[in-house]
Every structure is written in structure tokens, then in C-alpha cells.
């Protein structure tokens, strides 16, 4: 089954870390990318900070133009920073891989993918 490993954290904290701690986080990502790359296709995305985001609000009525709001979807304490998506045998295996990038500045959510299309497809 395909799983997403979604990464949440406080925007800007990684950038405030001393260099050796940043390297520690990045080496975890390097390891995960190597491991995933060896076993097949995977997708990995790092988002820009929430300050770069613009939000398309839900349409008020059908046919109406959606309202575009400058700024991220929500002033949340922890932001969605990026994710990995890959095929794993089961939840345990997905969690094993997620642990590789675990750090004090990130909360990881492992969630099965219901459907994926494009370069990586569940079909």
C-alpha cells in the first residue's frame, strides 16, 4: 500500500538550528532518500515557508469566482512542511522508514494514500 509520511513543524525552527543540528536533520533525509531510491519510485516534496502561500477559499456559491486570500490556509502552530510518498509493505514498514527522519523539530504523520495519480499512481 502507498503511504504518505507527512512532516509538520514550526516554520523557521529548522533555519534557527545551529549548523550541526541542521546537518543531523538533513543526514536523516539523505538516508531516507537513499533507502527509498533503492527500492523503487518515491516522491519527496519540501514546501516553501507558509509566508509564500496563497489560499483559494471555498466557493460561496456555484459559478462564483473563488476568493483568493494572501497567506497560508491557517495560522496554525505547526505547519505542513513537506512529505514523502512511497509504497510500503505495511504500516510497520512505513513507520520504520519514518523513524529515519524523526527529529526534535518535526512531527511525522504516517497516513495511507487512498488514491494517487500522475507520475506515481495507485492504479
Amino acid at each position: 500500500m502507498m503511504y504518505a509520511i507527512a512532516i509538520y513543524g514550526e516554520a523557521g525552527v529548522f533555519e534557527s538550528l545551529p549548523k550541526d543540528k541542521q546537518d543531523e536533520v538533513m543526514s536523516g533525509h539523505g538516508d531516507l532518500q537513499d533507502a527509498l531510491g533503492k527500492r523503487g519510485d518515491y516522491l519527496s516534496v519540501k514546501l516553501m515557508p507558509p509566508s509564500a502561500a496563497v489560499t483559494v477559499e471555498p466557493m460561496q456559491a456555484s459559478g462564483q469566482k473563488p476568493l483568493i486570500v494572501d497567506g497560508p490556509f491557517a495560522e496554525t502552530k505547526e505547519s505542513f512542511l513537506g512529505f514523502y510518498a512511497a509504497d510500503f509493505k505495511d504500516l510497520d514498514e512505513a513507520l520504520d522508514y519514518a523513524r529515519v527522519i524523526s527529529s526534535p523539530v518535526a512531527r511525522l504523520e504516517v497516513r495511507p494514500i487512498a488514491w494517487a495519480g500522475g507520475v506515481m499512481s495507485t492504479d
Binding site: 543540528k21 509564500a52 497567506g71 502552530k77
Partner: protein
């Protein structure tokens, strides 16, 4: 673990100090209370876990610790001011109203750019209070002794409290005015870090990074403001060139000569993203135009592929908004690329009176005179620049140019 937590504390610092300053009506109590809360957090979060709302936790603990301090002081001096008397009624853990947070942070930054302070002290105060840099770090950045900086900061805080900023919710026009003042201070903070001097590169980069962090904070708080998005964009473009801007001996490398493979492309991508956001919002202010100019340089695959026509047009637009001699000088520098050195030299004549003691005026004239083949006048222009207090790295470059002019002359006469 505490190194990991430091990063969290510094992320929350501006919002926390801002809220505590409103609460205690005093920046110093706010700073002390926040430090106290951070110390407690290191112990508590390691023993238990990092709370889901670290800022809420820090604020709660800081308020209690600040109140303790205030109460002790009141008991000691036996003063009970009405100001703090009703604090126990305030509910501590209401979720912060985003509008209130926005005005608090803006107020705190505005307190730092108090008109009674000169620019450098404003920047130093913001670095100390909002960014949380140590006095030693700031002193290193400004090339003064730590003791001197300590005294300057103390004096600055005194001046600020002698003429306090109001804690009322600002009116829309007050808010706009504060935002303008604060943005300018952050812009000058970045320039302070970006400018060349003998102080060590590390601390200068840190000052630039703090300016970027503050610009990003403004974008987070005022997402609908195009100029603030542009300010962040401008910084990101500049800062992206940091590695290419210095050679291995610490010498400066001019934009045209920089190794573009050393440019930080992810930072530039974010610069483009912020510029697009600013464009979408509209309103082409001075930061927006400067960011657009920086974007043109970032876009050019090589120096000789720079779109100088577009840059020249941007400078013309900037001069309409800011009709200052220095902006005009930059405009003429772009004209030198589109219409040639001789044309630019003629245009510079009108600025002679205004910029006679501005060293960049003379280094630019020197460069243009060299281009027209007048090595003797070029050398003279560079020598004038040398008398106008260049920083050490600049002096090295100017000396190099003078030597090159001399060689050219000898070559021509020999």
C-alpha cells in the same frame, strides 16, 4: 536537547516578548520573564514532552514569573500601582486574537524604532529585544566594545521609556505608519549586515538573517501587504548571493564577476515566489521595484546576458517614487549599460554637487572614465574615493583599480 529548544524559543521570541510587553507595559520585565520561562521550559520539556502549543506554554509561565517579580518589587517598595492591581482578573490562557498579536508585534518593533533614537541604536535595540542576540554579538556586528554597546542599549531603553509608545489599539492610519517605519528599520538592518566592513562575516550574515526573519514575520502578520512581501523577496535575492560575493581572502567580488553557480538557488526561488505574491497584491512601491531589479539579476544566466533595458526602466520608476541623488546615480549606472559610458558620464554631471562626498559617485565615475579610455582622470576619481572613508575591503578594491589605471597610462606612454 537545549540546542534544539533554543531554536523553538527564538522562533517564538518576537510574538512572546510583544505580548508580554503589552501585558506588563514594560519591555525589560517582558524580556526577563521570557528568559525565565525558557529556563523552566528546558527542564520541563525534557522531563515531560514538548507541549503542543509551545508559545502558549511559554506565555503562561512567563506571565506568572513576571507577576512574581512585579509583586515582589511592589512589596519591597510598598507601592501598589493601579496598573498592575487588576492583573489577577485577566484570564491567562485565552487563545491569542490574531489581530492583537499583529498589533503587539508591530508595537514592539515600533518601540525599537523610536524617533528619539538614531538609526544604529534602533537596529541594535531590535536585534537585542526582538531577535534576542546577545550584547556581545551586536557589539561585534557594529565594531564596538561590548561595554560600549551595553551602555548604548541602556541609554536607548531609557530614552524609549521616557516617551512611551501608546498601548491603545492603533488606528488604521497609525498602523500603516508603524508598518512603514518598522519596514524601513528592517531594510536598514539588512543593509547594515550586508555592508562591508572589518567586522567578521559570520556576525554580519547573522544580522542579515535576522532581518530576513523579521521581514518574514511581517509577511506572516500582514499577508495582504505587497510591499512587505517585496521586502522579503529583495532580501532573499541579495542574501542568495552571499557565497559568491566574497573571495577566499575575504575580498569583495563585484556582481558582474561573481560565480553564479555559488548563488543559493532555493533562496532565489523563494525570492521569485514572494515577488509574484507582491505582484498579485499590486501596488508597486520602492521595495517592489528594488526586488524586481534584484530578480532581473537573478534571472540572468551570465552577467553579459543581464536585461539592462528592463533594469533601467525599473530604476526610472524608482526615481519617480524616490527622487534622490543616490537613486538617480543607480539609474545612471543602468543607463551606462544601455546607452554607453560617455552618455552616463554626461548625465552624472548634474549630481556632482549633491554627491561630491559620496565615494560611490567617484568609484563609478572612475569605472566609466576607464571605459572611455581616460585612465588619467579615472585614476584621479579613484584617488578621490580613497579619501572618503572606504571600508577595508573597499579600499583594497580601489587600490587595485588605481594600480590598473597607472599601468594603462604607462602602457600608453611607453
Amino acid at each position: 536537547m537545549s540546542e534544539w529548544l533554543e531554536a523553538t524559543f527564538s522562533t517564538h521570541r518576537p510574538r512572546a516578548i510583544a505580548a508580554l510587553t503589552r501585558y506588563f507595559r514594560d519591555v525589560e520585565i517582558a524580556e526577563d520573564a521570557f528568559s525565565e520561562a525558557c529556563v523552566k521550559a528546558v527542564a520541563d520539556w525534557q522531563a515531560n514532552a514538548v507541549p503542543r502549543d509551545p508559545l502558549g506554554w511559554l506565555l503562561h509561565v512567563a506571565r506568572n514569573s513576571g507577576l512574581d517579580t512585579v509583586r515582589k518589587a511592589q512589596r519591597r517598595r510598598d507601592i501598589l500601582t493601579a496598573q498592575y492591581a487588576d492583573m489577577s482578573d485577566v484570564s491567562h490562557d485565552e487563545p491569542a486574537d490574531p489581530h492583537e498579536v499583529r498589533d503587539d508585534v508591530l508595537r514592539l518593533l515600533f518601540i525599537c524604532c523610536h524617533p528619539a533614537l538614531d538609526r544604529q541604536d534602533q537596529i541594535a535595540l531590535a536585534l537585542r529585544i526582538v531577535a534576542g542576540l546577545s550584547v556581545e554579538e551586536i557589539a561585534r556586528g557594529f565594531l564596538v566594545k561590548a561595554r560600549t554597546m551595553e551602555q548604548r542599549l541602556t541609554r536607548a531603553k531609557k530614552k524609549v521609556s521616557a516617551n512611551p509608545v501608546t498601548f491603545e489599539t492603533p488606528s488604521p492610519s497609525e498602523r500603516a505608519e508603524r508598518l512603514g517605519e518598522v519596514s524601513l528599520m528592517i531594510y536598514l538592518m539588512f543593509n547594515e549586515g550586508w555592508s562591508t566592513s572589518n567586522s567578521d562575516t559570520q556576525i554580519r550574515l547573522r544580522v542579515c538573517e535576522e532581518a530576513i526573519r523579521l521581514a518574514r514575520l511581517l509577511v506572516d502578520l500582514f499577508p495582504g501587504m505587497g510591499e512587505q512581501a517585496a521586502l522579503l523577496s529583495l532580501f532573499l535575492f541579495q542574501h542568495a548571493r552571499r557565497k559568491a560575493r566574497q573571495d577566499e581572502h575575504g575580498g569583495l567580488v563585484a556582481l558582474d564577476d561573481q560565480d553564479r553557480t555559488l548563488w543559493d538557488r532555493p533562496a532565489m526561488s523563494e525570492g521569485f515566489a514572494m515577488l509574484q505574491k507582491s505582484d498579485r497584491i499590486g501596488h508597486a512601491g520602492p521595495y517592489r521595484i528594488q526586488a524586481a531589479i534584484a530578480a532581473e539579476h537573478a534571472r540572468a544566466p551570465a552577467a553579459d546576458q543581464t536585461d539592462w533595458q528592463t533594469i533601467e526602466a525599473h530604476y526610472a520608476a524608482l526615481f519617480v517614487l524616490q527622487p534622490t541623488p543616490v537613486v538617480r546615480l543607480n539609474h545612471i549606472a543602468a543607463l551606462a549599460k544601455t546607452r554607453g559610458a560617455a552618455f552616463a558620464l554626461a548625465e552624472m554631471d548634474e549630481l556632482t554637487e549633491d554627491l561630491i562626498s559620496y565615494r560611490w559617485f567617484h568609484t563609478m565615475r572612475g569605472g566609466l572614465l576607464e571605459e572611455t579610455g581616460d585612465a588619467a582622470s579615472a585614476g584621479a576619481a579613484y584617488r578621490t574615493a580613497l579619501t572618503l572613508g572606504p571600508t577595508e575591503p573597499e579600499r583594497a578594491i580601489i587600490m587595485g583599480k588605481i594600480a590598473a589605471c597607472k599601468k594603462k597610462r604607462q602602457h600608453l606612454s611607453g
